[in-house]
C-alpha cells in the first residue's frame, strides 16, 4: 500500500506538524491553529484506519493543539482587578512557533550530516576496511589478545594485587557484605575501557576493597578477553600489564529508529 511509505516519513509529531505547515504554505509565526489541528487529527485518523500503532507522542501533540484551539476560541476574560495579565495576552502559538523553529534548525542540520556521511562513503581508510572484512578490528589487530602476556603473567599480577589487600580485609571485622556479579563487573570494566581506551592492571584493581571484588573483576576480565572485547598486553617482560578496549565489529549495520 502506497500509504505506508508516506506514513513512515515522519520522525515525530514536530516533523509531521512542520510538514503540514509547509504543505499548506502557512507561516510558522501565524499558524491557523484550527486548520492545522484539523489536518493533524485527520492524519492520525488515517493512521488508525490503517491499523498503525500511533505513538503516544503524536497524541500528546494532538492534545496540545486541541487545547490551544480551545484557548484561542474562548473569549478573553477581562483581567481581574489589580492583576497584571501580561502572560495571559501571550499568543500560545508563539511557544509552538519557537519550538517548531528550533526543531526545524536541527532537522536541517541532520540533512547536512546525512550529506557529510554520504560523501565520506566515497572514501575508504585502512582501519575501517579491516573491520568491514570481518577481520579483527584495527585495535584487535594491533593488540592481539594476550600479546606478549602469558596467563602466568596475568595470574602473577593478580597475586600481587591480592597480596596488597590481605591486611585490610582479613584483619577488619564486619566488612559489609557486598555482592558483585561477574556480569556487572564486565559492564563496569567495559565502560571504563571504552572511556580510557587503555588501562593499567593497577588502575583497574586499585580501587577494589575486597578480595571478592578483585576475584570477580578478574573473572570478568578473563571473560571479556575470551569474548574478544578486551585485550591484555605487556610491552616489557615484568612490565606493567595494560588492558585495551577492542572495538566490536558491527554486528548489524541496521538503521536506527
Amino acid at each position: 500500500m502506497s500509504y505506508n511509505v508516506q506514513l513512515e516519513i515522519f520522525s515525530g509529531p514536530m516533523d509531521l506538524l512542520l510538514h503540514l505547515i509547509q504543505k499548506n504554505e502557512m507561516s510558522i509565526y501565524d499558524i491557523p491553529i484550527a486548520r492545522i489541528t484539523e489536518q493533524y487529527l485527520e492524519y492520525l485518523a488515517t493512521l488508525q484506519e490503517l491499523d498503525v500503532d500511533i505513538a503516544s507522542d503524536f497524541l500528546v501533540m494532538a492534545a496540545t493543539l486541541i487545547h490551544m484551539k480551545a484557548r484561542l476560541l474562548l473569549p478573553k476574560a477581562p483581567p481581574a482587578e489589580g492583576e497584571e495579565s501580561e502572560e495571559e495576552e501571550l499568543d500560545p502559538r508563539e511557544e509552538l512557533a519557537r519550538r517548531l523553529m528550533e526543531y526545524k534548525k536541527y532537522k536541517e542540520a541532520s540533512n547536512l550530516l546525512r550529506a557529510l556521511g554520504e560523501s565520506q562513503n566515497l572514501v575508504w581508510t585502512r582501519d575501517i576496511l579491516l573491520e568491514a572484512a570481518g577481520q579483527p578490528p584495527s585495535q584487535a589487530e594491533a593488540f592481539p589478545a594476550l600479546e606478549g602476556v602469558s596467563l602466568d603473567d596475568l595470574v602473577a599480577a593478580l597475586k600481587n594485587v591480592l597480596a596488597g589487600l590481605t591486611e585490610t580485609e582479613e584483619t577488619s571485622y564486619r566488612v559489609p557484605k557486598e555482592r558483585f556479579s561477574i556480569r556487572q563487573k564486565m559492564r563496569d570494566i567495559l565502560r571504563l575501557l571504552r572511556q580510557e581506551r587503555r588501562l593499567s592492571f593497577q588502575q583497574l584493581f586499585g580501587s577494589h576493597r575486597s578480595r571478592t571484588e578483585v576475584v570477580v573483576s578478574f573473572l570478568a576480565l578473563l571473560e571479556l578477553i575470551r569474548l574478544g572485547l578486551a585485550a591484555a598486553r605487556q610491552s616489557l617482560s615484568f612490565g606493567a600489564i595494560e588492558l585495551f578496549y577492542v572495538e566490536r565489529t558491527r554486528k548489524k549495520g541496521g538503521a536506527g529508529h
Binding site: 515525530g12 526543531y103 538503521a255 536506527g256
Partner: protein
C-alpha cells in the same frame, strides 16, 4: 634527517597508525617541533594531490590518516567492501544532530526538541558508537549527559566539532528576531 626523509617517515607513520595520528604524536616520534610537522604533513598532502594519487593523507578527528581518493570510489566499491556508514534513520540522524550541536545534553532535552521519545534512537547511536555518556547533569536524578565520540568525527570526516557545518543561519537569525519581539 633531511626534509625528504622526514616526509617519508611521516608517510609511513600515518599509513601504519591504526587510527588517525595526531601531530603531537608524530612530532614526538620524529623529535621535531609540532609546527614543523604540521607544515611537512600539509606538504605531503599537497604532493599527493598534485600527483593525483589513488589515496592521500586527510585530517580527520584531530589527527591524520590516509583515505582513498573519492573519485575512484566506483572502482573501490567493486572490491565488495561495505561502505563506512550504513544509513541512519531520519529519527536517529535528527537525534544525532541535536546531540552534536548541543552537547552535552540529556535525553529529556533532546526529547523536548524532537517532541518524541528518543530511547531507541539513543540506543542505536550508542551501539554504533557515535555518541556516548560524557557525564551527569547536576540536576534532580542526575541524568546522563550525552556527547559525540571520536568515531562520530571519523564517520563524518570532521576534524573536530568546530568543523560541524554551521546551523542554517537564517533560521538562527529569525529565531533571534522572534525572541527579541517576544521580549518586548
Amino acid at each position: 634527517m633531511n626534509i625528504h626523509e622526514a616526509k617519508a617517515v611521516l608517510e609511513a607513520l600515518i599509513f601504519a597508525a591504526p587510527a588517525p595520528v595526531t601531530l603531537r604524536e608524530l612530532a614526538g616520534i620524529l623529535q621535531l617541533h609540532e609546527n614543523t610537522v604540521k607544515v611537512l604533513v600539509q606538504q605531503l598532502k599537497d604532493d599527493y594531490q598534485a600527483k593525483k594519487c589513488g589515496f592521500l593523507p586527510q585530517e580527520v578527528a584531530g589527527g591524520w590518516q590516509f583515505c582513498t581518493n573519492p573519485q575512484f570510489a566506483p572502482y573501490i566499491a567493486q572490491l565488495g567492501r561495505p561502505p563506512r556508514n550504513s544509513p541512519l534513520s531520519q529519527a536517529a540522524l535528527e537525534t544525532l544532530a541535536i546531540i552534536a550541536y548541543r552537547q552535552p545534553i540529556t535525553r529529556t532535552e533532546v526529547e523536548a526538541i524532537r517532541g518524541v521519545r528518543v530511547d531507541s534512537a539513543l540506543t542505536t547511536l550508542e551501539e554504533r558508537q557515535l555518541i556516548c555518556e560524557v557525564g551527569r547533569k547536576d540536576a534532580a536524578g542526575r541524568p546522563i549527559l550525552y556527547g559525540t565520540t571520536e568515531a562520530f568525527l571519523r564517520s563524518f570526516g570532521l576534524r573536530d566539532l568546530k568543523d560541524l557545518p554551521p546551523l542554517p543561519e537564517e533560521f538562527a537569525l529569525q529565531l533571534a528576531a522572534v525572541e527579541e519581539e517576544y521580549d518586548n
